[in-house]
């Protein structure tokens, strides 16, 4: 049994090790012309990892639990604003602010979950109510003084480990990777736990789950809380990376879309789905931009995004169970 346990985590450990070793390959990647320079690589990877984390959060409630949210911006934004406001207004250290941001995000998740799940909202109805909450947050954040209103909140640039601001981009890469790695392992733990089994049962069939003794309300609430907390960490990391948030960044629809897009493209309800999806989507967007730019110049705007959109449709058409499904099918042959 214990060898079985290790086997379950082996791919994750390998993936984490591979990601951690990626910087070693940077000269090759740059040499091959895939990246203009090492920091281009790091900057892109950091953004991919932040989106991965937001998507991993979404995947807990949406992928494993089947509770499709269109409003994970509500959690991302709470994390991002908490990280910024706690530092600038209350003088909290960045490392202390991060767990607080996570907790606040989780709290918001629990509250929205409580309202939505008690009202027995499912499917599109749940999706739309989360979307509406995110919009309300966006409008409020744009108008309230504590968030800096429309001017947003700027975190002062003070490079130093104590401020969670690093001179070397690789440091932030490893910080973001550490969070992604923890959630990868957490997801596998979840898959192999009672809570995880019940969560999936809720996704598959709520009535059948209830008949088997699953307290579906509690399970869903726990899931959305955990989901929100993870996505809030992504928001907090965004703040630390860009040192500025405003209402459209924090609570904008863009992040809700990214958070759900990555797992669906990668493989919904799987450990690696969000990571694979985020790498593919953002990588694809960057690649389209670079290739189109190199081939046709940048005189006509939007062509790269047209290509990106078409590729997205093609990926869906040929990878019904997400890219991870595609990998598995190919591997099986």
């Amino acid at each position: 049994m214990s060898s079985g346990t290790f086997a379950a985590y082996r791919p994750i450990l390998i993936a984490i090790a591979a990601l951690a070793a990626l910087p070693l390959a940077v000269p090759l990647l740059v040499g091959a012309g895939l990246f203009a320079g090492p920091n281009t690589f790091y900057n892109l990877m950091i953004f991919i990892l932040i989106i991965t984390l937001a998507a991993q959060g979404w995947n807990i409630a949406g992928g494993y639990g089947g509770q499709f949210s269109f409003g994970h911006a509500a959690f991302f934004g709470t994390g991002a604003y908490a990280q910024a406001v706690l530092q600038t207004r209350y003088g909290v250290n960045a490392w202390v602010a991060l767990p607080l941001a996570m907790a606040l995000g989780g709290l918001v998740g629990a509250l929205i979950g409580l309202l939505a799940f008690r009202a027995r909202l499912r499917g599109s109805y749940f999706a739309l109510v989360t979307l509406a909450f995110a919009e309300v947050f966006r409008i409020l954040a744009n108008a309230t003084p504590i968030t800096g209103g429309a001017a947003g909140t700027l975190v002062p640039l003070r490079i130093g480990f104590g401020q969670m601001q690093f001179d070397a981009p690789a440091a932030f890469f490893y910080l973001a990777l550490a969070f992604v790695a923890v959630v990868l392992i957490l997801n596998r733990l979840l898959e192999r736990s009672r809570f995880g089994a019940w969560l999936v049962a809720v996704r598959e069939n709520e009535d059948a789950a209830r008949a088997l003794g699953v307290d579906t309300l509690t399970v869903k609430l726990k899931a959305i809380t955990l989901s929100a907390a993870v996505t809030a960490v992504a928001g907090a990391l965004y703040t630390q990376k860009f040192l500025y948030v405003d209402a459209n960044i924090a609570y904008g629809a863009w992040i809700s879309v990214e958070a759900l897009l990555a797992p669906i493209v990668g493989g919904i309800g799987t450990v690696f789905g969000p990571l694979i999806g985020a790498v593919a989507l953002i990588g694809l967007g960057e690649a389209a931009k670079t290739v189109i730019h190199a081939a046709f110049g940048s005189a006509v705007p939007g062509v790269d995004l047209v290509v990106y959109g078409l590729l997205l449709v093609v990926v869906i058409a040929f990878a019904p169970r997400g890219l991870i499904g595609l990998l598995r099918t190919r591997g099986g042959r």
Binding site: R194, A197, E204, A208, A209, R210, A211, D215, T216
Partner: protein, 246 residues
């Protein structure tokens, strides 16, 4: 074990279950039969907590459980199967059963071991395949296995034999009997009379939401009111005539 007292359920003006009282003795296999639309499944949903009755009470092991949620009833030891099987289609057979097993075994290793044991008991093999790939008979067994994995004291079976061919029925009847022998009380809705005759000690007959007869299977089959409920007014008389001629 289970006692239903004056249970009534109205949907708007329609009375689906009307003043039904019955008892299921501990350790028995009790049958619930009746024509389609008689309210059998509604009665099950009331007992298992999926709907709250308009009137009446449900007692389990002497305690009033009326209006309690299905999940809390499962914890108390009441498990049910669904007439229309509801497998977790995205999961493997073993994972399906494990969901039930987790109720009493919080840890994965125990739950998996328990699930495998239950699968073995109901005769399910090849546990790694997706539940969606099972045949009808396989799905019925899975439904049964999942419920059984929750470690129930009372099992509510809603037409587990429907849709099976005679040889499949022959295979599954001993399984149900062995479940009872392990100490689980069973209340089953069933249309396959041959199985009811061989399994049940006691049978209740429901028609138009009302209890119209009860007794041993043999007594019930001989009850003209029951025959009429199934075959229409006057059928009992015609049948008897036919019997005397034949």
């Amino acid at each position: 074990m289970l006692e239903v007292q004056g249970l009534t359920k109205r949907f708007g003006g329609l009375v689906a279950v009307s003043d039904v009282s019955l008892t299921v003795p501990e350790g028995s296999i009790t049958g619930l039969i009746g024509p389609n639309g008689a309210g059998k499944t509604t009665l099950f949903t009331l007992i298992s907590g999926f709907q709250t009755p308009s009137a009446g009470r449900v007692l389990f092991a002497g305690a009033d459980i009326t209006g309690r949620t299905p999940e809390s009833l499962a914890v108390l030891g009441i498990a049910r199967t669904f007439q229309i099987v509801q497998p977790f289609a995205g999961l493997s057979v073993l994972e399906n059963i494990a969901v039930g097993a987790y109720l009493r075994c919080p840890h994965r290793a125990e739950a998996m071991a328990h699930a495998e044991a239950v699968a073995d008991r109901v005769g399910l093999t090849d546990l790694g395949r997706p539940a969606s790939s099972l045949t009808v008979a396989g799905r019925k067994r899975l439904e049964l296995a999942r419920a059984l994995a929750t470690g129930p004291r009372l099992l509510l079976l809603d037409e587990v034999l429907a849709g099976l061919n005679p040889s499949e029925i022959r295979d599954i009847v001993p399984v149900i009997r062995s479940i009872r022998e392990s100490g689980v009380t069973i209340l089953m809705i069933e249309h396959v009379m041959q199985a009811v005759m061989s399994l049940c000690e006691h049978v209740h007959v429901l028609a138009n939401g009302r209890l119209i007869g009860a007794g041993t299977p043999a007594e019930v089959v001989g009850n003209p009111a029951v025959v009429e409920a199934y075959l229409g007014h006057g059928a009992a008389g015609r049948l008897q005539k036919g019997a005397s001629h034949g």
